[in-house]
C-alpha cells in the first residue's frame, strides 16, 4: 500500500490569513503538526511510501518531514496544478503508484483514528472506492487493475474538516479533552491527559490543571495557572500570575503578567476568538508579543547595510549627471515625473514613490536612461530604509493585482528588480518566478552584482533602442 496526500492551497488559505507566521501543513494540533497525524495514519494503514502533493509551498513541511525515515517510511514530494483533477494527479504520479494499492487522502482534513487499531489488513482487504468523506475531503482507495467500488456501511475512520479557526480550535480541544489516548501526542507525562515537552521550566508556585499539552522550551513563571484545557506551544513564556484556560497559545508567543486568557487563541501578538475568528493585535509588548527570530534579523540588518552603502555610492556617482541632464530633458518635455502608491515591505502599509519615465528619443535621453537617472529619486528611499536596492518591482497598491504582495514570499520593494537584472519581462507573471528565486537564493554581496547587472542591462537596452 502507498499513500498520496493531496492538499490544495485553497483548502488551508484560512490558516495563512488568520494565523500568520504558521506553515499550514505544520499547524499544531495539541502540539503535533497536522501532517504528522496523516503520516501516522498512513503508517497504521500499512503504507511504506508516502507522497505529499500540493499546489502550494511544501518547503517547510519537507524540512520537517525530510525523507520520512523517522517514521520508517519513504516520503517524497511533488507539485500539482490548481486545475488538476484526481485522474490527472494519478497520471502524473504513475511511477509512484506503480500497480500497487494506493490510499489517497484528499483535503485539509483531520483523520480520526485510534493508534491501538491495525488498519493494515482492513484497508488491504477493502475494495476500491471511497472509505470516508466529509465536506472538504475524502479518503479513497485505488488499484490500477481493479475497478470494483467500495460500498461500506461502516467507516473505520472519521474525517473532520479543518476549514476555519473555529473548527481548528474545536478539534484541538476535543482531542485534548476526550481523545488524547487515541493518538501519539508529543511530550512526557507521568499521568494521563498531561503532556509536557523538553526544556520546560515550571515555577514552584505555578499550577498545572489537566488536561494540558505543553511544548518544548516553555517557561511558566510564578503564580501562573495553566489549564484546564490548555495547549501551550513551543518557545513560549507565560509571565507571572497569568491564567490560561480553554485556550491555545501557539509557538513563539509571550503572555504578559497577570493576563487571563480564556477560550482564546494567542499567536504572537494576536489574540483570536475562535467563534468568528475575531482577532485583536496587541500593541503593548508587555501584554502579548511574538518572540523574534534573531538570526533572520541579523541577516536583514546586514542586507540593509550593504544596500544602503551601495545606494550612497550610486547617488554620489549619479548626482552630477542628474543635475546637468534632467533640467534639459524637463524643458524638452522628455522627463515625465509622477507619483505612485505601492505596498511597502510589510505588505500591509503603503509608500508613495516617484515614478519617472524618460521619453527615449535623442542622445541626451538615451544617456539619462542608460545611467538610470530616473531611479535616482528612489535611491534616497533606500538610504531612508523604505526600499531595498534590488528586490521585487514595487507592486502598486491601487491596482487589482493578480498576485498581491502577501502572496509573494520575501516581498521587498526595490529600486531595481531581479527580473531586470536577469532580463525577464518586468511586471509580468514570469517576472514573479525570478523574483521568488532570488528571494531565497540571493545574499547581500550577490545583490550588489545583480544591481550592476541591472545597470548594464539598461545601458544595452539604450544602445539597441
Amino acid at each position: 500500500m502507498k499513500t498520496l496526500l493531496t492538499i490544495r492551497e485553497n483548502s488551508y488559505a484560512w490558516v495563512t490569513s488568520a494565523l500568520q507566521g504558521l506553515a499550514p501543513l505544520l499547524l499544531p494540533i495539541c502540539n503535533k503538526p497536522f501532517v504528522e497525524f496523516l503520516v501516522d495514519f498512513a503508517v497504521l494503514a500499512g503504507s511504506r511510501e508516502i507522497r505529499l502533493l500540493s499546489d502550494g509551498p511544501l518547503q517547510e513541511v519537507e524540512q520537517y518531514c525530510e525523507d520520512g525515515s523517522r517514521w520508517g517510511v519513504q516520503m517524497s514530494y511533488a507539485h500539482i496544478k490548481e486545475s488538476d483533477d484526481h485522474q490527472t494527479i494519478f497520471e502524473k504520479n504513475r511511477r509512484f503508484c506503480n500497480d500497487s494499492k494506493v490510499m489517497v487522502i484528499d483535503g485539509f482534513v483531520f483523520v480520526g483514528y485510534d493508534k491501538k487499531n491495525d488498519y493494515r489488513d482492513l484497508f488491504n482487504s477493502m475494495p476500491d472506492g471511497t472509505v470516508a468523506s466529509c465536506t472538504t475531503g475524502s479518503i479513497r482507495l485505488f488499484t490500477v487493475s481493479e475497478s470494483n467500488m467500495a460500498n461500506n456501511d461502516e467507516t473505520p475512520v472519521s474525517l473532520t474538516p479543518i476549514d476555519s479557526v473555529e473548527s481548528y480550535y474545536d478539534l484541538s480541544m476535543h482531542i485534548l479533552r476526550h481523545e488524547s489516548s487515541r493518538y501519539v501526542l508529543p511530550g512526557y507525562g507521568s499521568e494521563p491527559d498531561s503532556y509536557v515537552g523538553r526544556n520546560v521550566t515550571i515555577s514552584k508556585s505555578a499550577e498545572i490543571i489537566k488536561p494540558v499539552s505543553i511544548g518544548n522550551n516553555v517557561q511558566i513563571l510564578a503564580g501562573s495557572v495553566i489549564g484546564p484545557d490548555a495547549v501551550i506551544g513551543s518557545n513560549v513564556i507565560i509571565d507571572r500570575k497569568s491564567r490560561i484556560t480553554e485556550s491555545i497559545v501557539l509557538d513563539n508567543t509571550y503572555i504578559g503578567e497577570e493576563l487571563d486568557v480564556e477560550h482564546k487563541m494567542a499567536n504572537r501578538n494576536t489574540l483570536i476568538s475562535p467563534q468568528g475568528a475575531v482577532s485583536i493585535a496587541m500593541e503593548d509588548p508587555h501584554l502579548l508579543t511574538g518572540i523574534k527570530d534573531t538570526a533572520r534579523g541579523i541577516g536583514n540588518l546586514l542586507r540593509t547595510i550593504v544596500h544602503t552603502l551601495t545606494a550612497i555610492v550610486l547617488i554620489l556617482l549619479l548626482v552630477i549627471p542628474f543635475i546637468l541632464i534632467t533640467p534639459i530633458l524637463a524643458v524638452q518635455g522628455k522627463w515625465k515625473s509622477s507619483r505612485k502608491t505601492c505596498y511597502d515591505h510589510t505588505c500591509k502599509g503603503v509608500i508613495s514613490l516617484p515614478d519617472v519615465s524618460i521619453e527615449r528619443s535623442g542622445p541626451l535621453s538615451a544617456i539619462a536612461f542608460a545611467l538610470s537617472l530616473d531611479r535616482l529619486p528612489t535611491l534616497f528611499r533606500v538610504v531612508g530604509g523604505k526600499l531595498s536596492l534590488i528586490g521585487n518591482a514595487p507592486i502598486a497598491a491601487e491596482e487589482k493585482n493578480l498576485s498581491p504582495p502577501a502572496a509573494t514570499p520575501g516581498y521587498r520593494p526595490a529600486v531595481f528588480s531581479y527580473a531586470e537584472a536577469e532580463n525577464w519581462p518586468v511586471g509580468g507573471s514570469d517576472a514573479a518566478i525570478v523574483e521568488r528565486f532570488y528571494a531565497i537564493h540571493s545574499n547581500p554581496l550577490q545583490d550588489i552584482g545583480l544591481t550592476m547587472k541591472s545597470l548594464i542591462n539598461r545601458f544595452h537596452d539604450t544602445t539597441t533602442a
Binding site: 511533488a78 507539485h79 509512484f96 531581479y418 525577464w424
Partner: protein, 115 residues
C-alpha cells in the same frame, strides 16, 4: 551540457544532461525540437543536476513559444534539486510535471490527438 533526443510513441523526449544555467541555457534555446517545431514535447529533467534562474528562464521561454504555436512542453522526472527551484519560484504552476516519461508521452499524444 549534452542534449539527448529519443522518441516514444511518436513523441520526442528531450533529455538535457548536466547543469542548466546561464552558460548552457542557450544550448537549450537553440535546440530545434524545443524551439522551432510546433510539436508537443517531453523534457526529461532526470539528468539535470542543477538549475538556476537563467535555466528556468529558458524553460519558461520555450514553454511560452510552444504555447504560441498551440503546442506544449511537458516536464518529467525532476530530481529534488530541480523540484525545489520549481517550488520556491512556483514555476510548477506553468508546467505539467509527470514523474514518469511514459505517462508524460501519453499525455502529449492525447493532447496532440485532441487538437
Amino acid at each position: 551540457m549534452i542534449i539527448k533526443e529519443t522518441k516514444l510513441d511518436n513523441i520526442t523526449i528531450v533529455a538535457p544532461v548536466g547543469t542548466l544555467d546561464a552558460s548552457t541555457a542557450s544550448l537549450l534555446n537553440e535546440n530545434k525540437v524545443l524551439s522551432e517545431t510546433s510539436a508537443t514535447v517531453v523534457l526529461d529533467l532526470s539528468q539535470v543536476d542543477f538549475l538556476d534562474s537563467s535555466g528556468l528562464g529558458a524553460l519558461v521561454g520555450i514553454a511560452r513559444k510552444k504555447r504560441e504555436k498551440k503546442a506544449d512542453m511537458v516536464l518529467t522526472s525532476m530530481n529534488d534539486n530541480v523540484r525545489k527551484v520549481f517550488e520556491i519560484t512556483q514555476a510548477f504552476q506553468l508546467f505539467d510535471v509527470y514523474d514518469d516519461a511514459r505517462s508524460a508521452a501519453e499525455h502529449c499524444r492525447t493532447k496532440t490527438a485532441s487538437q
